[in-house]
């Protein structure tokens, strides 16, 4: 469980990235923080592993204030995935995945053996193990990034716009893959994105942020879509977009769901 208790982050130049943010991420849930740039979403994420310390308020993991924990040990205990995987360009795929266990003192051979299995787990061919990150496609780099984050077997995964740099088709594949992994592993995931479709696709809960880390609305994707609290949220989630406004028409005795432009979205199951 990750608790944000009235956290604020103000910079010396007067910019307030996050103001009085309070939210609790329950264990084994995927919570997506979604907002445009300047909404403080990445700042919030980085407060969890102390890449950023709040100016006031506290972040607690399972009741422990993260400020009482050793920074380095805390970061090693939390999986972190960022855009393009944030891979180390001078290490092979296998060694990138084995990074955190090696840092925490696991013998290199054992860490590598475990890394082999993780490659398979994230859907990568073992033949890629000896390559360097620059020799991989964007989607492959991203999978390596996820494998590396899982290598320390953390309870918490922090994902900072991890799929932002890949093309839409690959992004879709990666999202499916992440849902599959999460169904198997049940981590506590905090995921940051500016893409509302990604947020709805991955989040058990979605937190829509305004500028300065103010919560515009939080809830399940269905709740937010059903009842956007105001115009900002309605606009942000595209509640009025043609593909979100569905009706059914009967065709040959079956109920076909169509959007407002009349394009079919699917068939109601019987």
């Amino acid at each position: 469980m990750i608790e944000f208790r009235s956290v604020t982050k103000a910079y010396p130049d007067g910019t307030v990235a996050v103001a009085d943010f309070t939210y609790t991420v329950e264990s084994h849930r995927t919570v997506v923080l979604v907002g445009s740039s300047g909404s403080g979403k990445t700042t919030l994420l980085r407060m969890v592993n102390r890449m950023v310390d709040p100016t006031s308020g506290t972040v607690a993991i399972d009741g422990l204030d993260v400020r009482d924990l050793d920074k380095v040990a805390l970061r090693r205990s939390i999986g972190y995935v960022l855009q393009a995987g944030g891979l180390l360009p001078h290490r092979t795929v296998l060694d990138n995945v084995a990074t955190v266990p090696v840092l925490t003192g696991t013998p290199r051979r054992r860490a590598r053996t475990a890394a082999w299995e993780l490659l398979e787990r994230v859907g990568l061919d073992r033949s890629l193990a000896g390559r360097y990150p620059a020799q991989l496609s964007g989607g492959q780099q991203q999978r390596v990034g996820v494998a590396r984050a899982l290598a320390g077997d953390p309870n918490i995964l922090l994902m900072d716009e991890p799929f932002g740099a890949v093309d839409p088709i690959v992004r879709g594949e990666l999202q499916v893959e992440l849902r599959r992994l999460q169904a198997e592993l049940g981590k506590t995931i905090v995921f940051v994105t500016h893409d509302i479709d990604e947020a709805f696709g991955l989040g058990d809960e979605v937190v829509v942020l305004r500028r300065g880390g103010e919560i515009a609305q939080a809830g399940t994707p269905a709740q937010i879509l059903a009842n956007p609290v105001d115009d900002f949220v309605r606009d942000f989630v595209g509640a009025d977009r043609a593909e979100r406004v569905l009706t059914t028409v009967e065709v040959d005795g079956r109920c076909v769901v169509v959007d407002r432009d009349g394009r079919p979205a699917g068939v109601l199951a019987r």
Partner: protein
């Protein structure tokens, strides 16, 4: 050629002396300049002043420097230690700026990612920044290698033996073969050390040779080592 055939034990002896002056000086230059460069990169304001000061060291004329060093450090004028210190001063002057640039060339996103997954500052330096700075650093070191081997000949003027002794001796006694041997041997030694440096660098940075093929993931070629 005749001179060399008759005097090769002496030439070889001097070449070895030359190596013993150059290699320690190069090593000291690297050991001093790399941490200074790292600090200059980390703290840009005092760092800028440091870089200017270090570069100015190179402007000190070498003969006065060879007189000052023994006086300041209290070592004999004609000792090889004097020469090693002088060469190290020039080496540091040449290398500090490249070292700072080398650390500047490390991708900030990689540094951030490494910190975020739990590299301590110490591990970050040794296992991420230093390896990634190596290609640029090495280019700087190779300049220092060649320049140090060349500069070491100056010692002959104040009586510190090196391959430079072959020029001074050859000039004084009018033996062209000895002078030419000195020049050719110095150049050959510089090239040999530079080559050794380049090979070491290649071995240390295997990832740079594969970085060009950006989408190699889609190829079916053999896996790069």
């Amino acid at each position: 050629m005749t001179w060399l055939l008759l005097n090769w034990p002496q030439a070889l002896q001097l070449a070895w002396t030359h190596v013993l002056l150059s290699v320690p000086a190069i090593t000291i230059s690297v050991l001093v300049a790399v941490p200074l460069g790292r600090l200059a990169h980390r703290y840009p304001r005092p760092g800028g002043a440091l870089l200017s000061a270090a570069s100015l060291l190179y402007a000190i004329p070498s003969l006065p420097l060879l007189i000052i060093i023994p006086v300041v450090l209290g070592i004999p004028l004609r000792s090889s230690a004097t020469m090693v210190v002088a060469l190290s001063v020039y080496g540091v002057a040449l290398l500090v700026r490249s070292a700072a640039d080398a650390f500047g060339a490390v991708d900030a996103r990689v540094r951030l990612a490494a910190t975020a997954i739990g590299f301590s500052p110490w591990a970050l330096f040794w296992r991420v920044e230093l390896p990634l700075a190596t290609p640029v650093l090495l280019a700087g070191v190779r300049v220092v290698v060649v320049s140090t081997v060349g500069l070491a000949t100056i010692g002959a003027l104040v009586g510190i033996p090196s391959l430079g002794s072959l020029f001074t001796d050859g000039f004084q006694r009018g033996i062209a073969g000895e002078v030419i041997t000195g020049i050719v041997a110095t150049v050959a030694l510089a090239l040999a050390l530079d080559g050794a440096c380049a090979l070491t660098g290649r071995a240390l940075t295997p990832w740079t040779r594969s970085a060009r093929s950006e989408h190699a993931g889609r190829h079916t070629g053999p896996v790069a080592a």
